[in-house]
C-alpha cells in the first residue's frame, strides 16, 4: 500500500510536471558553493556539531559534513547552515 502510494505520487509528479519536493515532501537543498547550505522541508534537527549536521526528513536522514558549522537561522521547516561543507549525504530508508 505504501509503495503503491509512493508510486502514485511519483507518477503524478511526472505526469503533471509538479516539483517533487512539493509532491513528495522531499527536502529541497540549495547550496552556494561550499559556504552555505539552505535546506527546506526538514523534520527536525537530530545532531548539530561543528563538523556535522544531521536532519530528519520524511523517509530518511540528510547528513551534512564539513567544518566550522554555524546555524545562521532555523525555522520549523527551514535551516540555513554556514561553514565549509564537504559532503551532503542522503540516507533513505525505503
Amino acid at each position: 500500500m505504501k509503495r503503491f502510494r509512493k508510486w502514485i505520487e511519483q507518477w503524478m509528479g511526472e505526469q503533471f510536471d509538479l516539483p517533487s519536493d512539493i509532491m513528495m515532501d522531499l527536502p529541497r537543498v540549495t547550496m552556494i558553493g561550499n559556504l552555505h547550505i539552505y535546506i527546506e522541508n526538514h523534520r527536525g534537527l537530530v545532531r548539530f556539531t561543528n563538523e556535522e549536521v544531521i536532519l530528519r526528513f520524511k523517509g530518511g536522514w540528510l547528513y551534512v559534513r564539513g567544518s566550522d558549522f554555524v546555524i545562521k537561522m532555523i525555522l520549523p521547516e527551514e535551516i540555513l547552515i554556514e561553514g565549509t561543507i564537504h559532503d551532503v549525504v542522503y540516507d533513505i530508508n525505503d
Binding site: R47, F48, T49, K72, P76
Partner: protein, 390 residues
Amino acid sequence: MNEVIGYVRIEIKGEVPEQFINECQNRGIVLWDLENDKNGTISADILTTNVKDVRWVAKKTGCKFRFLERHGGPFFVRRVMKRYGFVAGIGLFFAVLWFLSNLVWNVEIEGATPELEHELRLTIEELGVRPGVLQSRLPSPEELQSIVSAEVSEATWIGVNVRGTTYQFQVVQKELAEPHEDAAPRHLVANRDAVVHDIFVEHGEAQVKEDDYVEKGDVLISGLIGNEENQQQVAATGSVEGEIWYETKVTVPLERTYEVIEDEPQVHHRLLLGSLRVPLWGIREPEAENIKQEVDQSNWKLFGYDLPFGYEQKRMYETENYTQSYEEKEAVEVAKEFAKEEIFDHVDVDAEIKDEKVLHHEVENGKVKVNIHYEMIEEIVEEQPIVQGD
C-alpha cells in the same frame, strides 16, 4: 528589529541540546547564529521577549542554560542610564541651549539718525527689550511694532523683526520737506490748444487771463518779471486750467444677450494621476444644453518638484440666455456712460467734465450710433526753461 527589541546570547548545556532546538521550533521560538562550542554545549541568539519560554523549554528538555551577552536597545538604554552623570549632562546641555536661545542677545536699530536711535532705544528699554531678557516676557513683535510706532512720532514707520535672538528695528524716518532750491528760470507754456478756464500764479507773471484762447506753446506764466530796466528771471510756478473739447463716437446695440446662471453647479472631483482622471465624486453630467464650466486644478508639490498627482474640481453651471433690448432713449444713456469711461482713458483722472452734449444719434442695423461732445477742464501747463542770453 532585533536591535530594537533586544536580544541575548544564551548557552545551552545538556545531554541532547538538539532536542532543545527542536522544542524551540515547536514552540515558535526563533533562534539564530547557533554555534557548537564543544560537545553538548550550544550557544544561540534569542529575542529578549522569548527568554521566559526558553527557560521553560530548557527545563523540559533537561538542559541548563545561561546568558552570555546582551545586545540591543533596552540593554543599551540600561547601560547608558548607569552613567547618569553623562545623561544628565546631555540633558542639561540641551536645556541650557534652549534657555539661551530664548534670550534676547542683541537689539539692532537700522535706518535711524543717532538722536532717533537713542530715543527709540530708551523707549524699547522701557518696554523691556534689552539683551539678557527672556523673549517670552516681551510683547510679540506685532504688539511692539504698534507700541513703538505710536510712541516714537519722528518715525514714519518702524518694523520689528525677531531673527533668532536678535530684535531688529527698521526705522523709516520722516523727511521734513526742505524748501526746494529755486529751479532754473522758466516759463510755463500751454501744452495744447485750449481756452483758459482758471489761472493761479505763484511765481512769475500771468500772460493770459480767463477765457483767452491759447495755442500750444503760448506762454501762460512768464518767468521774466519786472520792467525793462530791472528785469529778473524766476522759475514760474502756478497752475492753469484749460477747457478742452473732445468728441467721442459710441455705438450701442439695441439688443444685448446675457448668460444667466440658473442653478446650483454640479461639482465633479477628480484625482489626477499623471494624465489619468480618477473620479472621486460626481459622475452625472448635467442635462441642460448650455453649460458653463469652471475647472480648478492643483498639482501637489514636494520640495518644489511637481508630483504626478493632482486634484481637479470641475463646476458645471446650467446657463440660460436672456436678451435685453433697449429703447432708443435708454441706449443713448448707456452710450453716455460708455463715452465717459472712454474719455477718462485718454485724459488725466483729475480732469473734470464741464459739459456734455449729445450732438447726434442715429439708429442703424439695430445699433445706436451716438456722437457726444465733452468740455473737459484739465491742467495745461508745461515747463519751458528760459535760455540764457536770449
